[in-house]
């Protein structure tokens, strides 16, 4: 019988899996605690950093991490022990790796997904005033978090489920 995730949509799209994954990655790799918040979006910085890791296999879609440049530099500083004054290649590398670990941790919460869903190499985008739009996804999780006063958002987009 062919493997399918169709009967496990509730498990795959369980929002708690994303929260647990974010807490785990930030606690283990940065040594900080994250809290999810759900109030209105704060006025963001004009420059933002976005990392995308694609999913392929039983589930297709992407894990998208997005933050302002100051939060991105703060995350990279925690990872490396260095200080940053601009979003340089090391900051982009660190944010890409955070997104990679979030994607891996998230899919690892569902055993069928862990074994049958591959991850792409992270892509990192920097710029101002851009939006991410996906046409009619199967499901989408969009959560915002804070640590040490710095905010970021993580989106899981599923545009195909076998």
């Amino acid at each position: 019988m062919a493997l399918s995730l169709r009967d496990s949509v509730d498990l795959v799209s369980d929002p708690r899996n994303l929260d647990t994954s974010v807490e785990e990655v930030f606690h283990l790799m940065l040594g900080v605690n994250c809290t999810r918040y759900s109030g209105p979006p704060e006025a963001g910085e004009p420059e933002s950093v976005t990392a995308v890791v694609g999913f392929g296999g039983l589930l297709s879609g992407a894990c998208v991490f997005r933050s302002g440049s100051s939060a991105a530099m703060k995350i990279a500083a925690h990872m490396t022990g260095m200080e940053f004054e601009e979003v340089d290649d090391t900051v982009k590398d660190g944010i890409g790796e955070i997104c990679n670990m979030l994607a891996g941790a998230w899919k690892g919460k569902v055993p069928q997904l862990a074994a049958n869903c591959g991850l792409s190499i992270p892509a990192v985008i920097t710029g101002r005033d851009y939006n991410l739009h996906v046409q009619a996804p199967e499901f989408k999780l969009y959560h915002r978090y804070k640590f040490d006063g710095a905010g970021f958002e993580v989106t899981i987009i599923c545009d195909g489920l076998q």
Binding site: M79, G81, D93, G94, G104, A105, G108, A114, A115, I121
Partner: protein
């Protein structure tokens, strides 16, 4: 412990630094680190340098970690040197593939320095 010559293969320079820091925190003060950003670069290091330990990511462009491992064995490089995979891929199938390709250890990202210590130090004692 005497000098431990270690090859760290990961396409992320930040992750290579984190792995190195974790090894030092595990007590490997006399670490000599060689870095490579892909499996292809890792093979070049192994052709030129003797190492005691290899830590490699799996998901990398150009040549992934599993192919890197197969090439090490096929080219008879680093014979007897323990290889530990450090990766976001955590399923039993991925662990099985890594072991079949010749890895002695497996660490899932994200990880703690304690996990690196637990998985790596016993392998060095057997060298």
């Amino acid at each position: 412990m005497s000098e431990v010559r270690t090859l760290i293969v990961d396409d992320s320079s930040v992750m290579r630094k984190i792995v190195e820091r974790s090894l030092r925190q595990a007590g490997l003060d006399s670490l000599v680190v060689f870095e490579a950003g892909s499996g292809i670069d890792g093979l070049e290091v192994l052709k030129a340098e003797h190492v005691d330990l290899i830590l490699s990511d799996i998901n990398m462009p150009s040549m992934d970690g599993l192919e890197f491992l197969r090439q090490i064995r096929a080219l008879n490089l680093a014979a007897g040197v323990p290889v530990v995979m450090i990766t976001t891929e955590s399923s039993e199938e991925h662990v099985k593939q890594a072991i079949l390709a010749g890895a002695q250890g497996y660490i899932r990202k994200p990880f703690t320095p304690e996990q690196v210590k637990e998985r790596v130090l016993p392998l060095l004692r057997t060298v």
